[in-house]
C-alpha cells in the first residue's frame, strides 16, 4: 500500500468526499442501531428531522452552532500560527466567569452598553488567560499543549469553587450555580419562541472579521507567515514572539466570547455544565474547516446538526444516548479521513 499526493484535487471530489464520508459513517452506525433494536432508516429520518425538520429544530441547531463558531475560530487562529491552544474550554469558562462577575447585578447599564462591555471584558479575560502559557512558551520554551490543557482543569476547579462557595446563589434551592445575570446583560432572542439569540449574529460577524483580519491585515499576514515558518519569518525581520502573543490574545478572546455568549444568551447563570466540551469541539471544528475562518461556520453547523439530530433521534426511538455520541464521533472521524483521501490517493499493489 502506498500513499501518493493527488496532483490537482477537483472541486467535485472535494465536495463529494465529505458527503460520501457521512454516508459511510451512517452505514457504520446503522449496525449499532440494528443492534439496539431500532430501524436504521427510521433512525436517520428522525435524526434529520430532529436537527433540521422544523423551525424549532433549526433554531436549536443554530443555537448549538453559536459557541462552536467562537471556539472553532479560536482554535483556527491559534493553529494557523502553530500556537497549539488546547485551552479553549478554560478560556470559555473564564469568559462566563467574567460575564457573571460583571453582569450579575454588581452594577446596571443599558443593554446596548452592557452587552458589548461584557463581551469585551470576557474576551480580555480569555486572552490574558492564554497569555500565561504563551509567555511560558516564548520565554522558556514550555510546551503549550501541556500548559493550556492543564489550565482547563484549573479553571474548571476554580468555577467549581465559585459555584459551591462564594458565588453560590441562595435562591437556587441548593443547586451549585451562581446568580443569574441582570436583564440588560441577557442577549436578545432573534425570533419568538426559540432560544436563538444575538450571539449567533455576533459569531457570524466574528467569523467574517477574522477571515478579513487573517487575509488582509499586516498582523494577519504576520500570523500566517510565523505559523508557516517561524525561522523564515524571523529572518525576514518579523517580531515572532510579539506575533505569537497577539495571536494568543485573539484566540483566547474568541474562545472566551463563546462563554459570554452561552451564559448571557442561553443559560443565564454560571454552572459547571455550561459547556459540554465546546472548547474541545472547537478544535474539531477548526480541523474540519482546514483552519479557514469562514469554513469554521460551515463545520460548526455540521457538527451542531449531528449533535442535535443524534440526540433527538436517541430520545425519539428510546435508545441509549450513547449512540448519539458514537454517531457524532464516527461522522467526524469519517469526514476527517475523507478530507485526507481527497488530498491523497492510496494505491494498492
Amino acid at each position: 500500500m502506498r500513499i501518493e499526493a493527488r496532483e490537482n484535487v477537483s472541486l467535485t471530489l472535494r465536495t463529494l468526499a465529505p458527503v460520501v464520508a457521512v454516508a459511510a459513517a451512517m452505514a457504520v452506525c446503522s449496525v449499532l442501531l440494528l443492534w439496539a433494536g431500532a430501524s436504521p432508516l427510521e433512525g436517520w429520518a428522525l435524526m434529520l428531522k430532529g436537527a433540521l425538520g422544523s423551525r424549532f429544530a433549526i433554531t436549536e441547531t443554530l443555537t448549538r452552532a453559536t459557541p462552536l463558531v467562537f471556539t472553532g475560530l479560536a482554535a483556527a487562529v491559534a493553529f494557523r500560527a502553530k500556537l497549539w491552544n488546547i485551552g479553549g474550554e478554560g478560556q470559555f469558562y473564564i469568559g462566563a466567569v467574567i460575564a457573571t462577575w460583571l453582569g450579575a447585578g454588581s452594577f446596571e447599564m443599558p443593554a446596548y452598553l452592557m452587552i458589548p462591555y461584557l463581551f469585551l471584558a470576557g474576551a480580555l479575560g480569555g486572552g490574558l488567560l492564554l497569555l500565561v502559557p504563551t509567555l511560558l512558551k516564548t520565554r522558556l520554551q514550555v510546551d503549550e499543549v501541556v500548559t493550556t490543557l492543564l489550565l482547563n482543569f484549573i479553571v474548571l476547579l476554580f468555577v467549581n469553587w465559585l459555584v459551591f462557595g462564594p458565588w453560590k446563589d441562595p435562591m437556587a434551592m441548593g443547586w451549585p450555580q451562581a446568580a443569574p445575570v441582570v436583564d440588560s446583560a441577557v442577549l436578545p432572542q432573534l425570533f419568538a419562541k426559540s432560544r436563538l439569540h444575538l450571539g449567533f449574529v455576533l459569531a457570524l460577524v466574528c467569523a467574517m472579521g477574522t477571515w478579513w483580519f487573517m487575509r488582509s491585515t499586516v498582523w494577519g499576514f504576520e500570523i500566517r507567515a510565523v505559523g508557516a515558518s517561524p525561522r523564515a519569518s524571523r529572518f525576514a525581520g518579523m517580531p515572532v514572539n510579539a506575533v505569537i502573543v497577539r495571536t494568543a490574545l485573539l484566540s483566547g478572546g474568541l474562545a472566551a466570547m463563546a462563554g459570554v455568549s452561552e451564559l448571557c444568551g442561553v443559560k443565564g447563570y454560571l454552572t459547571l455544565d455550561l459547556s459540554p466540551g465546546f472548547g474541545y469541539s472547537g478544535i474539531v471544528v477548526a480541523m474540519l474547516a482546514a483552519l479557514h475562518p469562514l469554513g469554521v461556520v460551515a463545520s460548526s453547523l455540521f457538527v451542531a446538526v449531528i449533535y442535535i439530530g443524534a440526540d433527538s433521534m436517541s430520545r425519539a426511538i428510546n435508545i441509549s444516548n450513547y449512540i448519539a455520541d458514537v454517531t457524532t464521533a464516527v461522522c467526524l472521524l469519517a469526514v476527517l479521513v475523507s478530507m485526507f483521501l481527497a488530498k491523497y490517493r492510496i494505491r494498492w499493489r
Binding site: 502506498r2 499586516v218 523564515a232 529572518f235 525576514a236 517580531p239
Partner: protein, 519 residues
C-alpha cells in the same frame, strides 16, 4: 569483465503535465563509475528514484543483474543490491553511527540486537574501503563529510553492489570531495558500480569513466569521459552556450561595514566566533572561504542580525550597532541571502507574492493603518518576477513548487529591490545548475558595480576566486587577514582553510612555497 549490471530500458515518467523522463535507456557496467549530468529539473533525481523504487515509472523497466525489478519497491531494489545515498542525509542525529547503520536491517520483532556482530561487519567494511568513522560517535556530532561516509557505509552494510549518489559533493569542501572520489574509486576497484549525479563539470572530468547527460528528461548525450570535453558536456547540458559573467574593473569605495574583534557564542552544533575582524568597502566583493562548519553559518547569522555579538562591535556606515536584529539590518540596507533557501530564506508554503513582500509589507505604500495594499504588493511582485526572470506559473504559486534556481532568484529579487548597500550571501549557488549559478554571479557582480559591498561566504573555492576582490579564510571561528585575490593562490587559501596559520596571516603572500611543500 565489463558485463552490464544495471539496465534502465525506455523509462518514461510524467507528473501531470510535466514529463520528468522520456524514454530513457541507460546501462551501467561492472566496475564502472558513471556520471549522470543535467541541469536542475532535467530529471536526474526522478530517474534515480524510479530505479530505487521510490517512484513508479509510467513505462519502461529496471533490470538489475539480469532480472527485472518489481515496480515501486525500494526493498526489492535493496535486496537486488542497489543502494542510494541521498543528497539530504537520512540519518538519525541522536543515535550512534553503529545504531544508524543497523537501523532497519534487523527484524522489528528481534528481542536483542546483535550489536557485536554488526560492529564486526562494520569494522571489516571500514578497513576494506578505508572509510574511517567512530562507530560509537553520535551522528549529530559528525561533520557533513563524515555523515556522508556513514551513509555510504549504511548501503555497503546492506550489501549493495550498485551505489547511487545524488549530488554527493554539494555539501562537501574540495578536500572532502577529493576524499569521496578516492573512496568511490576504491569501491569501483573492488568490483562495485557507481552512478553519481552531479552538475559540476570538474568532477565528471576528474572522476568518472563514462558520462550521460539528461536534458528536459531526455538522454541527449552519452560518452566515455576520456573522449569528451567539459565544453561539450556543458553544451549538451544547457543546450546552448553559457554566458560568462562579466567582471567590472575593481573600484575603491568607502568602508561601509566593519567588524571589530567580534566574538559570538557557539549554539548547538555551531562553531563560536573568535575575534573576527573584517572591513568591507563599497564596490567590493569580499570572499569568506573555509571548510564547512568553521563558523561560516554563525558569521552569516551575525550579519543577518540573528545573533548578538558577545564582544566586539559591528559598524555599519560608520555607526555602531548595539543590538542587531534582522529588522535593524534590513533598515540599515543589509540584504541577506541565507544558505537555507526553503527553511530560512523563504516561507515555502506561502506564495511567490507573499514571499516577495516579507521585507516590505509594513512600509507605507504597501500597508495603510495596518491593512495590506494587495494591489501594490501584487504589482510589485509581478514586476520583480519579470525583472529577475523567476519562472513560475504566477505570483500565487506556492514557493515550494519552484526549483532551487528560481527560489534563489526570488530571494535575490526580494533583497536587490531594496537597493541594499551591503549584501551578505551564504553559499549562494549551493545546489544550483550552471545557468542559475551564472545568473546569481552576474547579479552579485552587477550589485558591486552599482556600489554595494558584498560579503560572499562560500565553500566553493572556484566561486570565491571567480568573484572576490579580496579573500579572508575562516578556520575554527576565526578570520584570517585578507588576501588580494590577484595575488593569492588556491594552495595558499587551502592551507589557511586547514588551519595552517603559521604561514597564513601577514606572511601569506610569501607562503605559497610552504603550500607547495605541504601538498
Amino acid at each position: 569483465m565489463t558485463h552490464t549490471v544495471l539496465k534502465l530500458q525506455g523509462i518514461t515518467k510524467t507528473f501531470g503535465p510535466v514529463t520528468a523522463n522520456r524514454d530513457v535507456t541507460l546501462e551501467l557496467r561492472h566496475g564502472e563509475m558513471l556520471a549522470l549530468l543535467g541541469e536542475n529539473g532535467a530529471g536526474k533525481t526522478t530517474l534515480m528514484s524510479i530505479l530505487f523504487g521510490h517512484y513508479v515509472a509510467d513505462a519502461g523497466t529496471v533490470e538489475v543483474f539480469g532480472s527485472v525489478l518489481p515496480e515501486g519497491s525500494p526493498r526489492a531494489a535493496l535486496n537486488a543490491g542497489v543502494g542510494m545515498v541521498h543528497q539530504h542525509f537520512t540519518l538519525a542525529g541522536n543515535m550512534t553511527v553503529l545504531e544508524n547503520i543497523m537501523l532497519g536491517t534487523e527484524p522489528l520483532t528481534a528481542v536483542r540486537h546483535d550489536a557485536a556482530s554488526a560492529l564486526r561487519t562494520l569494522r571489516a567494511l571500514m578497513d576494506r574501503f578505508c572509510l574511517a568513522v567512530d562507530p560509537a560517535a553520535m551522528v549529530r556530532d559528525l561533520s557533513v563529510g563524515e555523515q556522508q561516509r556513514v551513509e555510504i557505509l549504511k548501503v555497503l552494510y546492506r550489501g549493495a553492489r550498485i551505489l547511487i549518489l545524488d549530488e554527493p559533493t554539494s555539501v562537501l569542501t574540495p578536500q572532502e570531495a577529493d576524499h569521496l572520489f578516492a573512496t568511490l574509486r576504491q569501491l569501483v576497484g573492488e568490483g562495485l558500480s557507481v552512478i553519481f549525479i552531479t552538475h559540476k563539470m570538474r568532477e565528471v572530468m576528474a572522476a568518472s569513466d563514462r558520462c550521460a547527460v539528461l536534458r528536459h528528461g531526455e538522454l541527449v548525450f552519452e560518452a566515455v569521459t576520456a573522449e569528451t570535453t567539459a565544453g561539450e558536456l556543458a553544451r549538451a547540458m544547457v543546450g546552448s552556450e553559457i554566458p560568462k559573467p562579466r567582471r567590472p574593473e575593481p573600484r575603491e569605495g568607502d568602508e561601509i561595514l566593519c567588524l571589530q574583534s567580534v566574538g559570538v557564542a557557539g549554539a548547538g552544533d555551531k562553531q563560536r566566533l573568535r575575534n573576527c575582524s573584517l572591513a568591507l568597502k563599497a564596490h567590493e566583493i569580499l570572499g569568506i572561504a573555509g571548510v564547512s562548519g568553521n563558523g561560516q553559518s554563525q558569521l552569516a547569522d551575525l550579519l543577518a542580525g540573528l545573533v548578538v555579538p558577545e564582544t566586539g562591535e559591528i559598524i555599519i556606515a560608520g555607526e555602531g550597532l548595539e543590538r542587531p536584529t534582522p529588522a535593524a539590518m534590513i533598515a540599515r540596507g543589509v540584504g541577506r541571502v541565507p544558505d537555507d533557501r526553503t527553511g530560512t530564506g523563504l516561507v515555502a508554503d506561502m506564495t511567490v507574492e507573499e514571499n516577495l513582500s516579507t521585507e516590505v509589507y509594513r512600509l507605507p505604500g504597501f500597508a495603510r493603518r495596518g491593512v495590506l495594499n494587495f494591489k501594490a504588493l501584487a504589482s510589485r511582485a509581478k514586476q520583480l518576477i519579470e525583472a529577475f526572470d523567476v519562472r513560475c506559473p504566477g505570483i500565487d504559486t506556492p514557493v515550494r513548487k519552484l526549483s532551487g534556481g528560481n527560489m534563489q532568484k526570488l530571494i535575490l529579487a526580494r533583497i536587490l529591490s531594496n537597493a541594499p548597500s551591503i549584501i551578505v550571501v551564504n553559499q549562494p549557488t549551493w545546489g544550483l545548475d550552471v545557468g542559475a549559478t551564472a545568473y546569481v554571479h552576474q547579479q552579485l557582480l552587477d550589485a558591486a558595480k552599482r556600489g554595494a559591498g558584498v560579503v560572499l561566504i562560500s565553500e566553493d573555492l572556484d566561486e570565491i576566486f571567480h568573484l572576490s576582490d579580496r579573500i579572508q579564510v575562516m578556520y575554527q571561528g576565526a578570520l584570517s587577514e585578507p588576501l588580494a585575490t590577484r595575488e593569492a593562490t588556491r594552495e595558499q587559501v587551502g592551507l589557511l582553510m586547514s588551519g595552517n596559520h603559521a604561514s597564513g596571516a601577514s606572511r601569506c603572500t610569501s607562503g605559497s612555497n610552504d603550500a607547495g611543500a605541504a601538498a
